[in-house]
């Protein structure tokens, strides 16, 4: 990412939503920023890390989101402005801390940025993290554009200091990753010196009185937010239909209204401050119309809030008709779009939205499908996880006791798909792999005989797996822990983690290795290179055959993409066309169909397997799976060690 301190104040520039969030934080004078990577949030901290030296601030990738927010809170207690950013899942990780911090209160401005992922573009769930604001009674801001990202971040820090509590800003994938013109403001000339007056204590006791104070803070926030100018109405004075929208949905609603040509009939109330709701504003607009449509992603967060408000004032407001997730006019899952909202508007207003002829769409889809090669989620060429899950597949098949793999979060979550031979039987959240395995491993006494393997990546190992491993060790559960150590937080963009020893800003950190941690816990541990399929298979089989207690296997091989950056892999691969048995292999294209490395394909014309020299990275693993020995690896002269 770019050093955002180099932007010229007042000069309009193109910024990604996440960059605008980071720039807003810098303009607000943030002194500490911490995060755990996760799409779509990662670029926020990456931008801040690349700006840290120029700005003179501290930025870190933390071991997990809870630690990140706690670090930010520490800075806040000293009077500094601080922030933690994360994807929606991360909010769950730090929820316990949030629900206590909101009672203890804060000093320096502190902002939690959650970047949600409607449509689950790169997530294991589609959770609407806005509910943390209701749960913990925190102010919530929802920007619609990168410019608003910047402005709202500046405002969020101010608001936090004014009320003495955490403020939540919610982005979404489309906003975090869109680029638009933003006019940066000035950066602060100085920041306060951190100091924590030892006479001041930050805690939650006495809880009930402090809870009352917390609610007063929220009410105060509501008053400040209503004057902030982030809520805006565009439309006729007495619209036939009022659309209440937030975030990108507000832009979609405007586009849908224009497309249908109903600007004179439809009013658009765009809310940027979505908790607490601006009751006066809403009551005014509810009084001006008979029909209301809600446009928001994912859950009916605003919809339910407005309906609750309406219920309190129904006698004065009279009968209204509400449309949204509850009536099926907007979907409660996935992303919204101008098309979806045009359809909803048309349905309510009795206007047929201008749509493309379905037959035409069908023809286009057919033509496009013919041009685009099938492309599924898959491990990269040379990915060590392919070799690791190959070993798990082979070993559990030959073991013959219906063994299970309790998966976890990372690139290797893809093992639930054909690329990983569908060898992950369960995948939920960070650290849940060994947790679930721990429970399974306690069922031996009740007749559960299936072997259990759990997989965690190296970053996940430090993020959330350790408590589950400790629990299993303590309670003597019975499973095989496989640490898929590719020396990177690969899924989210190769951010460093405790196992890599590097830090967010490039400063050298202390490298921790999983085997030392495991040995300290008394977990027997063996390190194997997954590229050595025979050795991996043998070690894994032995670990599966052993029983009683947790035993670990660290399958260590650097991420193929990281290796590419380090000078590449050692081999140039080829398929000996004379040796390749082609259709007569008796294996029905074993290499390209079953092993599924994208670097291998079957040449229909030649009737033989081939290496795609553009895609193949030269890891050499596939030489071990060809029954004819036709796949050959020639050492590359220029290869890195």
């Amino acid at each position: 990412m770019a050093d955002l301190t180099k932007l010229t104040p007042g000069q309009r520039t193109l910024l990604q939503g996440n960059e605008a969030i980071a720039r807003g934080a810098l303009e607000a004078g943030v002194s500490l920023a911490a995060a755990y990577p996760g799409n779509p949030s990662s670029e926020i901290l990456e931008s801040l890390a690349d700006s840290a030296a120029s700005a003179g601030i501290y930025v870190e990738w933390s071991a997990n989101e809870k630690v990140a927010l706690e670090a930010a809170a520490g800075a806040s207690f000293t009077g500094l402005r601080a922030m933690a950013s994360m994807k929606q899942n991360g909010v769950n990780v730090c929820q316990d801390f949030i629900c206590n911090l909101t009672i203890s209160g804060t000093k320096g401005g502190i902002v939690l940025v959650t970047a949600d992922d409607p449509g689950s573009i790169s997530s294991t769930n589609e959770q609407d993290a806005r509910f943390i604001a209701k749960l913990a009674e925190l102010p919530l801001l929802e920007p619609s554009t990168p410019a608003e990202c910047l402005a709202m971040m500046r405002f969020a820090f101010e608001l936090s200091e004014q009320i003495g509590n955490l403020v939540v800003l919610r982005s979404i994938s489309r906003l975090s990753h869109t680029r638009a013109g933003v006019t940066p403001g000035p950066l602060p000339a100085s920041r306060p010196r951190p100091y924590w007056d030892p006479k001041v204590a930050w805690h939650t006791l006495p809880t009930v009185p402090r809870h009352r104070v917390m609610l007063e803070k929220l009410a105060q926030a509501g008053r400040i937010m209503s004057a902030a100018g982030f809520n805006a109405y565009r439309g006729p004075e007495r619209p036939e239909l009022l659309v209440i929208a937030s975030a990108s949905s507000a832009l979609y609603a405007g586009e849908a209204r224009d497309r249908l040509g109903v600007a004179s009939r439809v009013g658009l109330l765009k809310l940027g401050c979505t908790w607490p709701l601006d009751e006066a504003l809403l009551l005014k607009h509810l009084a001006s119309t008979e029909q209301i449509l809600f446009a928001e992603e994912v859950d009916p967060f605003i919809e339910d809030g407005v309906k609750a408000l309406y219920a309190q004032h129904a006698p004065e407001l009279g009968v209204k008709r509400f449309f949204g997730a509850a009536t099926g006019h907007t979907p409660p899952v996935g992303e919204l779009s101008p098309d979806v909202l045009a359809s909803a508007l048309g349905q309510i207003l009795g206007r047929e939205p201008a749509t493309v002829d379905p037959a035409y769409l069908e023809r286009v889809a057919e033509r496009v499908a013919a041009l685009v090669p099938p492309r599924e989620f898959g491990f990269c060429p040379g990915c060590p996880h392919r070799a690791s899950f190959w070993a798990m597949k082979q070993v559990l098949a030959v073991d013959g006791r219906d063994g299970l793999v309790s998966g976890d979060i990372g690139c290797y979550s893809l093992a639930m798909l054909p690329t990983g031979f569908k060898r992950a039987n369960a995948v939920h959240c960070m650290g849940s792999g060994p947790g679930v395995a721990g429970g399974l491993g306690q069922l031996r006494g009740q007749g559960f005989t299936q072997p259990v393997i759990t997989t965690v990546g190296d970053s996940t190992f430090f993020h959330a797996a350790l408590p589950a491993i400790i629990n299993a060790r303590w309670n003597r559960s019975d499973f095989v822990l496989v640490v898929l150590d590719n020396s990177a937080t690969a899924m989210t963009g190769f951010q460093p983690h405790p196992g890599t020893g590097q830090t967010a800003t490039g400063r050298e950190g202390t490298q921790l290795d999983p085997e030392t941690v495991l040995k300290a816990l008394g977990v027997p541990c063996q390190v194997v290179d997954p590229y050595d399929m025979q050795a991996t298979q043998q070690a894994l089989y032995d670990a599966v055959q052993a029983s009683g207690g947790v035993r670990a296997l660290i399958l260590r091989r650097v991420c193929a993409l990281v290796q590419n950056k380090r000078g590449g892999h050692p081999y140039t691969m080829s398929v000996d066309q004379d040796k390749c048995r082609g259709q007569d292999c008796g294996c029905h294209r074993f290499c390209s169909r079953v092993f599924r490395c994208p670097g291998l394909f079957f040449d229909e014309a030649a009737g033989k397997a081939m290496i795609d020299p553009v895609v193949c990275v030269g890891c050499g693993v596939c030489t071990q799976i060809c029954p004819a020995g036709a796949i050959q690896a020639e050492p590359r002269k220029e290869a890195a060690a």
């Binding site: 082979q394 030959v398 055959q545 292999c585 008796g586 294996c587 029905h588 229909e604 799976i625 029954p627």
Partner: protein, 360 residues
């Protein structure tokens, strides 16, 4: 249209093997299906196929001796006919019956009983009758696996019986796939000898018919899954690697195991509990489809019984006798009678097991 779309819609061969043999618990780890394609894998005495192959005309199910589809007697009659011999229950065709031993000093204490199999293989290799012999050796974790012997030393390394499924025929398939033309020998249990006959008679396996020059059968009392045997020995407190094991002929009723700590005897009932379920359906005590079959000699622990079944078997025996490599005497009539009775008993037990299975 891609070749994949041209695949016949018939049930895949591998699916049949998985559903009719492996999932049914019938597999005895002979290895006949191994080494033909990469789908079938073998580890620690177990055969598995984690992926679908999609081909309907693979040989794996055709070669399987446990394929329940052909009626056993009809299959054996067909194979004898294909090999030019006769189906003659209860112990198959026998041109000559001997009892004897190999006097060579280097075999003493290593080979089973009289060391006849090791000596015959060694002789066949030395005199170029075969280029390689596929045998069973103890591999990782003591589990048996196929190996190739090319000289006497390698034969001696494989000497002694391993009463656990070793998948050795996978090694035979791999040897037959190599671009060489030297004849091969294989030593196997009755199930493996039946599979070897399947290979030689298979219309799409010309290499087997051309190169499988010598099939030596072993009398088989019982074949055991490697993992279960290891578990039983652990349970019984038998420590360390097994140096030698034996089912001495009736009425011993025990399984003998030698380790560094000495001899341990386990009741044969405990072994029956863990044996391959598929063995219950085997009617063949003496490997009837071999060129010659070798086993224990009743009441004579230092000797083998040898049943010579084919001209190739007879020629090898004759050569061994001429070279002084074997000391032979005609098999005792009483011993042969007992052998036939034991074979009849096994045949009857198999028939009963098959009937019970068919009728649930």
């Amino acid at each position: 249209m891609g070749a994949a779309a041209e695949l016949p819609a018939a049930e895949a061969c591998l699916d049949r093997l998985l559903s009719q043999v492996i999932a049914e618990g019938l597999c005895v780890a002979c290895g006949a299906c191994l080494g033909l394609c990469p789908h079938l894998i073998f580890l620690d005495g177990r055969v598995a196929a984690p992926d679908a192959c999609g081909l309907s005309e693979g040989r794996c199910i055709d070669l399987c001796p446990l394929d329940p589809a052909p009626e056993p007697a009809a299959r054996r009659q067909r194979l004898h006919q294909a090999l030019g011999s006769s189906y003659l229950p209860p112990i198959g065709p026998v041109q000559q019956a001997w009892q004897g031993r190999a006097p060579a000093a280097d075999l003493q204490g290593k080979a089973q009983y009289g060391g006849v199999v090791s000596e015959l293989l060694s002789l066949a290799l030395e005199e170029g009758l075969v280029g390689e012999a596929v045998v069973t050796v103890a591999g990782q974790r003591g589990a048996p696996q196929g190996a190739r012997a090319r000289n006497r030393q390698e034969v001696l390394a494989a000497a002694g019986s391993i009463y656990a499924g070793g998948g050795a025929l996978g090694e035979l398939n791999r040897a037959l796939a190599e671009p060489t033309d030297h004849p091969l020998a294989v030593v196997g249990l009755p199930c493996q000898v039946l599979a070897a006959a399947n290979m030689k008679a298979h219309p799409r396996y010309p290499a087997a018919a051309q190169r499988l020059g010598l099939v030596v059968g072993l009398f088989c009392t019982m074949n055991l899954p490697a993992r279960a045997l290891r578990g039983l020995l652990k349970e019984e407190g038998v420590q360390g690697p097994v140096l030698k094991s034996d089912f001495p002929p009736p009425p011993a009723g025990v399984f003998q195991v030698w380790t560094q700590a000495g001899l341990r005897e386990l009741p044969i009932a405990k072994l029956r509990d863990i044996r391959f379920p598929g063995c219950a359906f085997c009617p063949d005590l003496t490997a009837e489809l071999a060129d010659l079959s070798v086993g224990a000699c009743e009441g004579r622990p230092g000797l083998n019984t040898i049943l010579v079944r084919t001209p190739a078997g007879a020629a090898l025996i004759e050569r061994a006798r001429e070279r002084g490599r074997l000391e032979l005497e005609p098999a005792a009539a009483e011993s042969m009678a007992h052998l036939k009775q034991a074979a009849e008993n096994k045949r009857a037990r198999a028939a009963q097991a098959r009937t019970e299975r068919q009728h649930g």
